[in-house]
């Protein structure tokens, strides 16, 4: 009873603080402390969201951005996790590739924007490339560390039990690294969502990043703020979605310590 009561309280607080900020924002805006051409009223922003939603533009932009993030992110997972498995198991591979991986990981994916445009033009391909570049290297590094950190006792037990070959991967290695990899996926997905906006601002003809840039060019600060609002909401929702992975019973051990 007390538990559910505190849960309701938490929800109220979570809704209450943003509501309070909107109220303060509305008051500041109505008082015209800043020129209205530089500081939009929340009401105008809300109307902007509504109009853009009804015209379908905002939905199309969101879909375009989500598609790019999904494609680049999935590509990074599909290639990055196996690469991390190889690096984690082989000291030789680590010696050969880890400095390279760390170099690219330290290189801001935004620095790739000019090359992305030169090589891949405008639209989906450069954005997907940039998202891949931002997600791939953190995934490789973290998977490598996770594999290298698996307690050797697990492999000894596996040997005793007669687990070997491909089964060792599915029965020991993958479940042993799952909690750490899930955490990395959350971080990498968040990074991808940051990068897609920048990519679309420069190399896009649609997408939420392009919506931001387009609104700025048209001096429509209401639409600018509306696009920002949608970007933040979708980003937070993506993370909530990935958090669900941590609720899988067989990975709880990695978080419940």
């Amino acid at each position: 009873m007390t538990h559910s009561a505190s849960k309701i309280g938490a929800v109220l607080l979570a809704l209450g603080t943003p509501a309070l900020i909107v109220v303060v924002w509305a008051v500041v805006s109505s008082a015209q402390l800043f020129p209205p051409s530089l500081f939009p009223h929340p009401w105008d922003v809300a109307r902007g969201v509504w109009v853009e939603l009804r015209s379908g533009r905002l939905v199309n932009d969101a879909i375009a951005s989500l598609f790019r993030v999904s494609a680049g992110f999935l590509l990074a997972v599909i290639l990055g996790v196996p690469a991390g498995l190889i690096l984690g198991h082989s000291a030789g591979a680590r010696a050969a590739f880890l400095p390279l991986v760390n170099f690219f990981r330290s290189l801001s994916p935004l620095a790739w924007i000019p090359f992305a445009i030169l090589w891949l033009g405008i639209g989906d391909p450069p954005a997907i490339f940039l998202i891949f570049m931002s997600a791939f290297f953190p995934i490789v590094v973290s998977t490598t560390a996770a594999v290298a950190g698996i307690p050797s006792v697990f492999f000894r037990v596996a040997r005793d039990l007669g687990i070997r070959g491909p089964e060792l991967l599915s029965a020991v290695t993958l479940p042993a690294i799952a909690p750490q990899v899930i955490t990395t996926l959350r971080v990498a997905a968040g990074l991808s969502w940051l990068v897609v906006v920048a990519a679309e601002m420069i190399a896009g003809r649609d997408g939420l990043g392009f919506a931001v840039w387009d609104a700025r060019n048209g001096l429509r600060i209401d639409l600018l703020a509306a696009a920002m609002l949608v970007i933040g909401v979708i980003g937070a929702a993506l993370d909530r979605l990935l958090v669900q992975l941590t609720r899988i019973p067989s990975v709880r051990w990695g978080y419940d310590r």
């Binding site: 307690p151 006792v153 697990f154 000894r156 037990v157 040997r159 005793d160 039990l161 007669g162 687990i163 029965a171 020991v172 479940p175 042993a176 799952a178 019973p249 067989s250 990975v251 709880r252 051990w253 990695g254 419940d256 310590r257």
Partner: protein, 258 residues
């Protein structure tokens, strides 16, 4: 006497030129419980790893049964599997699924954790986890069980309890056991034979035979006498007078007595 289940002949192990084991001979008979004790870092675990086949000896011969199972110090359970799933994994050699289930249930009953079948290891106490480890190792139905300080991560009372548990479980499911431990009392309470290893490079410096059924009380004269003798072999006790061994003797550092 029957053929030994495990035989080590002149086993020597060197790591980077440093001798860890120096010509160890060991015969373990079927059904015997052998404990290996010695100062920490003397190579007890190395010796056990040679017995298990995990570590090949630098010199000497090892004859071991084809299959054996090891119980580890702690956290050898797969944390991503429930108690029942861990035990079922130990029953891999049983081809029939229904039979696996049945035996897993029987093992859960044996260790008294039936109601924790669906629980994950990190939700259990250390003693409960060790019982599950034991059950998983027993599930292999191998003649030989190797135990590497299985209770060392438990507190003293839990350790005492686990010794009773192990004695009880071995009565129901007899096995040949080699136990590595730094806990001399544990060795004296459980083993038929205690091998005392010397400082590195390890040699067998004494062999204490305890001819007494398990379970044994830690305060039983046979156990206490064995503890006294092992302590004195390790140089942790000045004198042992077998006649007065029951009265507490004050331990003095070796070489200090005049």
């Amino acid at each position: 006497m029957s053929v030994p289940l495990l035989r080590l002949e002149g086993v020597t192990v060197t790591f980077d030129g440093v001798a860890v084991l120096d010509g160890i001979d060991l015969d373990v008979r079927d059904g015997e419980f052998v404990a290996l004790v010695g100062p920490s870092g003397c190579g007890k675990t190395t010796l056990l790893n040679v017995c298990s086949g995990w570590l090949p000896p630098s010199a000497g011969n090892v004859h071991r049964p084809g299959r054996l199972r090891m119980v580890f110090q702690q956290d050898g359970l797969f944390p991503w599997l429930t108690v029942a799933e861990n035990i079922l994994l130990g029953l891999r050699q049983v081809p029939d699924r229904g039979q696996r289930r049945q035996r897993a249930d029987a093992l859960l009953d044996l260790i008294g954790l039936r109601e924790f079948a669906g629980t994950y290891p990190h939700q259990l106490s250390g003693g409960m986890r060790q019982r599950v480890e034991l059950a998983r190792a027993l599930a292999g139905e191998t003649p030989l069980l190797l135990m590497d300080e299985p209770f060392s991560s438990l507190d003293y009372l839990a350790r005492l309890k686990m010794r009773w548990e192990l004695a009880r479980i071995l009565r129901q499911q007899p096995r040949t056991v080699i136990l590595v431990t730094h806990d001399i009392e544990e060795a004296a309470q459980l083993a038929d034979r205690v091998l005392v290893l010397s400082e590195r490079p390890a040699r067998v410096s004494d062999e204490v035979v305890l001819d007494m059924p398990r379970p044994r009380d830690p305060t039983h004269p046979t156990v206490v006498n064995a503890v006294h003798r092992i302590l004195s072999v390790l140089g942790l006790e000045a004198t042992v007078d077998r006649g007065t061994a029951l009265t507490p003797t004050v331990a003095t550092a070796p070489g200090r007595d005049t």
